[in-house]
Amino acid sequence: MNKKKNTRLISTAVITAILGASIFVYSHTPNKLRFYDALHLWMHKPAVARVMSWIGLSEKTVLAGKKVYWCPMHPQVNRDKPGPCPICNMQLVEMTGAEAGNKGDDNSILFTPRQLQQAGVRYATVKRMTLTREIETTGIVDADERLLKTISAWAPGKSRIERLFANFTGATVRKGQPLISIYNPDFINTQEEYRLLFKSGAKRLSPLLKSVEARLMRWGISKAAIKKFRNNENIMENITIYSPISGTVIERMVSQGQYVTEGTPLMKLADLSRVWIYGEIYENELPLIKAGMPIDVSVQGKTIKGKINFIDPVVQIDSRTVRVRFEVSNKNGLLKPGMFASARIRADAKDILAIPESAAIFTGRRVIVFVSEGDGAIFPVEVTLGRKWLYATERAKGGKGDFLLKSEERYHEILSGLDEDEEVVTSANFLIAAEAQFQGALKKMAPEKFSDSKQDPDAGR
């Protein structure tokens, strides 16, 4: 009895212990090891295939058969079983005969909306537009050559500068204002000669008188003044030179009391109400420049707009530049000859097919643009660019300040490869190009057979 009880007790204890232990073990077993879950996995996973494979059917024959699964977005992905596409995670679909035949003909790449959104893809339309190529150059303000006057001593022999009326450089003079008076012994002699001749009254001497009169007139003495000489006892000691124009003394070459010989330049006058501004253009930029093109000149922060009205026909030997000229009115006299200026020439190109700068990808050998077909289909197109990095002509309004505006969108001219109204990708281009590379879409394009000239970005210009 006792023994029986003992045994029962022990066996109960043992069973309890085993039960407890198994519960403990089970609860501590990872899912995968648990019977139920393991069975679940077993049913689910390649287990069946394994069993099949043991009985002579290899994994491949079971799973592959004739079926090929592919990703419609990424035709290069071919798998022998369904599952997500390694590139876009789309479920692979079974390939039918038709698809197997024509897949890969089209080199467009398909993106899911999620991909497009994550990449931040944006588009722009290929448009005809007026664009501007800007040439920035240095310039210098110069006086208008046509409005320059040099005053020189015209009295024969030596003469002395008696007085300088406009006696400093930069002095402003009006037309007819006395500038310089000079003493010339010859002049006094001539006056004497004239009076004596007149007083003698000899008719036969009148040709002589005429020639003296002409001499005086050439010295700048007016007929009226000459007439005064006839009776006047007082001899005019000095010749006064009057300003032929209104303008500025830009150079004074003599000082008071100085003796000058005939022909010595005394003074330079310039009319600065109009000035010239020269811009320097390098040879290679010449084809872009035409007379009449707009030019913005900035002098000391002030912007003046104008048009090129002359292109120097000669290249400056030392600097290898060609000067282009444009005239500006300078009524308020702010522009001084010799002033330093920066000039920006706008070479407009009207009505050209253009894409935003960010749409073009320079691969080194060629230029690629991604064109959207809509619905996430994007395909690479090789294009030929014409003029590059052109600015849109619509400029921000803002008066004088708009000159330095730099944030404008830039464009490339399209010579071939794209048509108007096509949608091109303007952002996340890099990522799309990378994807295209990974998918080999770029490789599928026409084989590279471009000559060196096409590699040169200069060639398009």
């Binding site: 899911t112 330093f340 080194g364 996340a428």
Partner: protein, 1156 residues
């Protein structure tokens, strides 16, 4: 000898006990001092030579710096590999030394050779040695954040660069603190070329003037009024004002031209080569703490954290230093897992002994071996400088069951002896019984423990990665086993004598033994009757095991679940910084949305350290995860697709259904419009020509129960569907029997390679999911990102690119490829300014002048550094951006001709865009391109490589891939290690078997017994392979090591069996009753059955002691499980077979013996 030791110890009980206590105390001391890490240091001995050459392209750097350096390094003694990396403006040469080379010895050798090599490289390039650390030393990454938004990125970066960085650098064990992200501030002197022209000042003069205006001098000492004054001439540039007032020249009449007259001076950001982003919220400044080679990671991290705490109050208000990647969490978790496993194992073993012996004190005696043995192992570890990590602790963990064996058997045998003596014994009789019992089994057990120990020694032959990984394990296992073997013959007999007394329950009364005997007896009888069939069955089972063996996948090491994801998508070279920043932010934002993610620190490009040779097109994002226990349950796999479908329907209802409801649409159209991925079923239906509306109505039936309910509410809330449609849908739902949708936690692979991979799909950037430590080890050893890839070597970059792109194409269509992206050897874009010598000559411009202008005006040149207290900022000179932002404008960059005239660049050069190498990699002098591959979750490397190689071979055969002479490719990464280990294993396994054979022979002294046990070994493999197969583990080094350990264990069980069989046989023979087959059978039955208890005890201890490792998912459990699984499986089969087959074999062998 062993008998003598046992005897001596029994006579000197006190001394033995005292020594044991001392050993225990020493062990406890060692345990508290031991250094902790997650994994053993796996990095190669590596010395980095980094040289900077500003603004030079990679080809120039390769030709003039990297190649000369790399080739001269090849001659350094003990060098194994030399890897060269040429970047834009930077060169890295990685010199990798043979295993076991002292790092500082290696560094001085490299230094020596560097001195010689210096003459071969340009004068203005100064190669420097990188830190004495490797990429594996990235133990802690932090961000410096401004909580109050008061400082800009430049200011924060300056704070990081000049303050925080140096503070952290002072922590012991820190080799380098590298900054990345934010803006490096610099003074930017933007010169207006028009003004330079106007003032006729060459650019060079401006640079000179600035350089000459930045100095402080000393004027010695001056004595004034009896006091000494120190004279100084002060002239450091201290700000924008100082720079602006730098005099460029002065006219004769004293009018100065100042820098501000010709240039704009600003404070700006240096060109970035690396960007950091946190959680997708915007750029941040971050720092990487690189631990010194061999330093203890945990100590370093704790030191750094302590330092951060100390300096935090001193930082400007609102500035905080936050950890972004912290390896200490992993270390602690790994150690914790292993620790708890050790304790669980000990408890289980103690319980098992308790159950079998049915005597508490005896169980205590047996169990005492465990803590003592472990502590002894720790003492030796401490002395050898081994740290505690998952591998070294794992070594102890796999030893536990075996450690207790000898003690258990000894106790059991004593029981048997005492049992025979009966309950009334005096002290002397008892001690002599103890002596006899110990003598009887002691030597054999000691030997079997020695077998287990020694048979594991071949593991030491592993080299490189595998060696570094498994040597610590082999060490600790050996120590622990050795210690327990010694304890078994010294302390244990003493303790048995002291404690095993009182009422010893006889074996026959033990319910466990009775049960076992009851089961075993009929079986053994049956087996002895059908001996030949048993043998045949056994051999058949062995043969059948070959099938799962063939089906096993292979990998180098099971991944260590690190708790941190390293996300490394890479695109083609040439990604601009702004785009890189944007993409990085998008990715980080998406990643942060996952509930499993704690924080995301994105990095693209390089951090400022030679240990990080990353190009700007490579993302390296650390994703910290919340503890795995807190991960939410998700609908995984198919279920997920269903839930996606739900949302898709919602979208379709709201966007498409309204307009085009009755119209037929193709699957593709719907997908494009809705933005969701259709599942196959819907696709099929659509192809079958069903209208969308019908499909929608039928759809709920295809979904799960909860999903259906959700769908109804979705339909109702969307408001676009006519009521009758909804009603119909509800109707359809009612009738449909639906299985429940399984919600469960994702595994790490599912989270990354499935869930995250699905959400993040940025075109042109294939996702790459890795783990930091694993990846860094791989990158160090193979120089390639990821765990697997092809290395293509050759001489010409263009050819290499062609081959690698072809390979990429082939691999991308190999099933199992998750991502593949060949490095674009020629993928870099260059804007070449080809200077024309003839034209330069015409204008009298030297090549150098022209190049200086290109360098300074376009690139911007750092002229000098300002010294402002602790801070240093570079001063950079360049043209205004708007004059150099397109090639057309570059043409107008002006050069000064000898005549003084200014000539545009275009007059002397041609500007061409070309492709070129973005970076050049070389290995041992040969150029190299890598094609890294990431494989799908659940696929093993070995299988994949086999498949991929077949595809490549096929392509070569078909002529799609051409490999010219001088070019070759090889698989690298983990596959390379695997192959190496494979080769090693082919030696190690026979050696192990030979060792076991030799030891057995020494022990038994006869060939027959030895062979009987050796024959048992193959049978143990059966269970091992089947269990490994059932658990879906791949063949790996860990599994192989497990099998090696198994060999020792199964030999031990065999020994125990044989000992008892021999005992019974000898007894019978002595009594002269060994006359015929019947006698032999009886003796076998007696030896086998009657003494089942000790055998069962040994096996249970071995096996159950390993079990706790199997029921954990903690960090570090995976490698352990791979190792333990074959041991457990093998033990099961070997036990069954030992109990049945060995007696059968024994009866075969001994029969002839008896009849003779």
């Amino acid at each position: 000898m062993i008998r003598f030791i046992i005897g001596w110890c029994l006579n000197n009980r006190l001394l033995v006990c005292a020594v044991s206590i001392i050993v225990a105390l020493m062990g406890a001391w060692s345990l508290s001092r031991i250094s902790l890490d997650a994994v053993p240091d796996l990095s190669d001995v590596q010395v980095i030579i980094s040289s900077e050459w500003m603004g030079r392209d990679s080809q120039t750097i390769e030709d003039q710096v990297t190649y000369p350096l790399a080739t001269s390094m090849l001659a350094v003694p003990k060098v194994r590999d030399v890897r060269g990396y040429s970047f834009f403006g930077q060169s890295f040469v990685y010199v990798i030394f043979e295993d076991g080379t002292d790092i500082y010895w290696a560094r001085s050798r490299v230094m020596e050779y560097l001195n010689q090599a210096q003459t071969d490289i340009p004068k203005d390039v100064t190669p420097t040695l990188g830190p004495d650390a490797t990429g594996l030393g990235w133990v802690f990454i932090y961000t410096v954040e401004d909580t109050k938004n008061r400082y800009n990125l430049g200011e924060i970066r300056a704070l990081q660069d000049w303050y925080i960085r140096y503070q952290l650098l002072s922590v012991p064990g820190v080799s380098e603190v590298a900054s990345f992200g934010g803006d490096v501030r610099q003074y930017q002197v933007t010169v207006d070329p028009a003004k330079l022209l106007f003032y006729k000042i060459p650019l060079q003069n401006v640079a000179d003037a600035i350089r000459k205006s930045n100095n402080d001098v000393g004027g010695e000492i001056m004595e004034l009024g009896g006091t000494e004054f120190m004279v100084r001439g002060r002239g450091y540039i201290k700000g924008i004002k100082d720079l602006e007032n730098v005099v460029l020249r002065s006219t004769l009449d004293g009018t100065p031209t100042l820098l501000k007259d010709v240039a704009l001076v600003t404070m700006g950001a240096q060109t970035k080569r690396g960007v950091a982003d946190k959680d997708g919220k915007g750029e941040v400044v971050a720092g990487i703490v690189v631990a010194r080679y061999g330093a203890n990671a945990l100590d370093v991290i704790n030191g750094v954290k302590e330092k951060i705490r100390k300096i935090s109050p001193g930082l400007p208000e609102g500035i905080v230093v936050k950890p972004a990647y912290d390896r200490s969490g992993l270390i602690n978790r790994a150690i914790k897992t292993l620790k708890s496993k050790l304790i669980e194992e000990m408890i289980i073993v103690a319980l098992v002994t308790m159950l079998f012996l049915w005597h508490a004190r005896s169980a205590l005696v047996a169990s005492i071996t465990l803590p003592l043995g472990v502590l002894t192992a720790f003492i030796i570890m401490k002395f050898m400088g081994l740290g505690a990590n998952i591998m070294s602790l794992g070594g102890i963990a796999v030893a536990i069951g075996a450690m207790v064996d000898a003690a258990v058997v000894m106790v059991e045998n004593t029981h048997k002896h005492l049992e025979r003596l009966g309950p009334e014994t005096d002290e002397r009789e008892r001690w002599s019984a103890v002596y006899n019992a110990s003598m009887e089994v002691g030597p054999a057990l000691f030997f079997s423990l020695i077998i287990i120990t020694v048979s594991f020694l071949p593991v030491f032959a592993l080299e490189d990665q595998a060696g570094r990984l498994f040597k610590p394990l082999a060490y600790t296992k050996t120590f622990a086993m050795g210690a327990s073997a010694i304890l078994a013959i010294t302390l244990i007999p003493v303790l048995i004598g002291l404690f095993v007394k009182g009422n010893i329950p006889p074996e026959t009364k033990n319910p466990v033994s009775r049960l076992l005997i009851a089961i075993y007896k009929p079986i053994i009888h049956l087996a002895l009757r059908f001996r030949k069939s048993v043998m045949a069955l056994a051999i058949l089972a062995l043969l059948f095991t070959y099938i799962p063996y063939l089906k096993l996948g292979s990998e180098f090491m099971p991944p260590l679940q690190e708790g941190v994801i390293l996300y490394m998508p890479t695109t083609v070279p040439g990604l601009p910084v702004a785009e890189a920043t944007r993409v990085l932010q998008v990715e980080d934002r998406l990643l942060k949305q996952f509930p499993e993610v704690k924080s995301v620190l994105g990095k693209i490009g390089r951090a400022n350290t030679p240990t990080d040779p990353a190009p700007l097109n490579m993302v390296e994002t650390h994703i910290s995860l919340i503890p795995e226990d807190d991960w939410p349950e998700r609908i995984v796999e198919d279920g997920y697709i269903q839930s996606l479908t739900l949302k898709m329907i919602d979208r379709m209802l709201s966007e498409i259904a309204l307009k085009d409801f009755p119209k037929k649409e193709t699957a593709l159209q719907i997908e494009r419009k809705s933005g969701w991925t259709l599942n196959n079923w819907i696709r099929e239906e659509l192809t079958n020509g069903k209208p969308l509306s019908a499909i929608l109505l039928a759809l709920p039936g295809k979904l799960g129960k909860t999903v259906s309910a959700d769908l109804i509410s979705y339909m109702k809330s969307s408001g676009h569907l006519p009521d009758e449609h909804i009603e119909k849908a509800v109707e359809a739902l009612k009738d449909f029997p639906v299985p429940p949708v399984a919600m469960r936690k994702t595994t790490f692979e599912e989270l990354t390679k499935k869930e995250m991979n699905r959400i993040i799909s940025i075109p042109g950037m294939p996702n790459w999911w890795l783990m930091p430590i694993e990846t860094r080890i791989g990158m160090l050893t193979t120089g390639m990102k990821g765990l697997l890839g092809l290395k293509i070597r050759g001489e010409d970059l263009a050819e290499l690119e062609k081959i690698s792109l072809d390979v990429e194409k082939i691999l991308s269509s190999v099933p199992g490829t998750l991502a593949v992206s060949a490095e674009r050897a020629m993928g870099g874009r260059y804007l070449d300014i080809d200077l024309n010598r003839a034209r330069l000559a015409r204008y009298g411009i030297t090549m150098e002048d022209a190049q200086n202008v290109i360098e300074a005006a376009i690139g911007g040149k750092t002229i000098t550094h300002t010294i402002e207290g602790r801070y240093r900022f570079p001063v950079n000179l360049r043209y205004p951006r708007e004059l150099r932002d397109d090639p057309e404008k570059l043409k107008r960059v002006l050069l000064t001709a000898s005549s003084g005239a200014l000539i545009p660049l275009t007059a002397v050069s041609k500007i061409v865009m070309r492709d070129g190498p973005p970076m050049i990699k070389s290995e041992n002098g040969l150029l190299l391109t890598n094609v890294p591959v990431d494989i799908e979750a659940g696929l093993d490397i070995g299988t994949y490589v086999k498949r991929a190689q077949a595809a490549i071979d096929k392509a070569i055969e078909a002529g799609q891939l051409e490999l010219p002479t001088g070019y070759y490719m090889e698989w690298s990464g983990q596959f390379q290690f695997m192959e190496e280990v494979d080769k090693k294993m082919k030696v190690i396994i026979p050696v192990t078997l030979a060792v076991i054979f030799l030891l057995l022979f020494i022990n038994f002294g006869n060939l027959t017994d030895t062979l009987i046990i050796m024959l048992g070994l193959p049978f143990s493999v059966i269970g091992g392979i089947w269990l490994v197969y059932w658990l879906d583990y791949n063949m790996s080094v860990a599994v192989a090591v497990g099998f090696i350990a198994l060999a020792g264990l199964s030999a031990e069980t065999g020994v125990v069996m044989l000992v008892y069989l021999n005992m019974a046989f000898e007894n019978k023979k002595k009594e002269g009753r060994m006359r015929n087959w019947q006698d032999l059978k009886e003796s076998v039955v007696e030896g086998a059955v009657m003494r089942i208890r000790p055998k069962a005890l040994v096996v249970s201890c071995l096996m159950l002691g390993l079990l706790p490792v199997m029921w954990t998912t903690g960090v570090g459990s995976r490698p352990m499980q791979r190792m333990v699984a074959p041991m457990i499986g093998g033990l099961i089969s070997s036990t069954i077979l030992t109990l049945i087959v060995i007696p059968v074999i024994y009866s075969f062998v001994k029969k002839t013996d008896a009849t003779d």
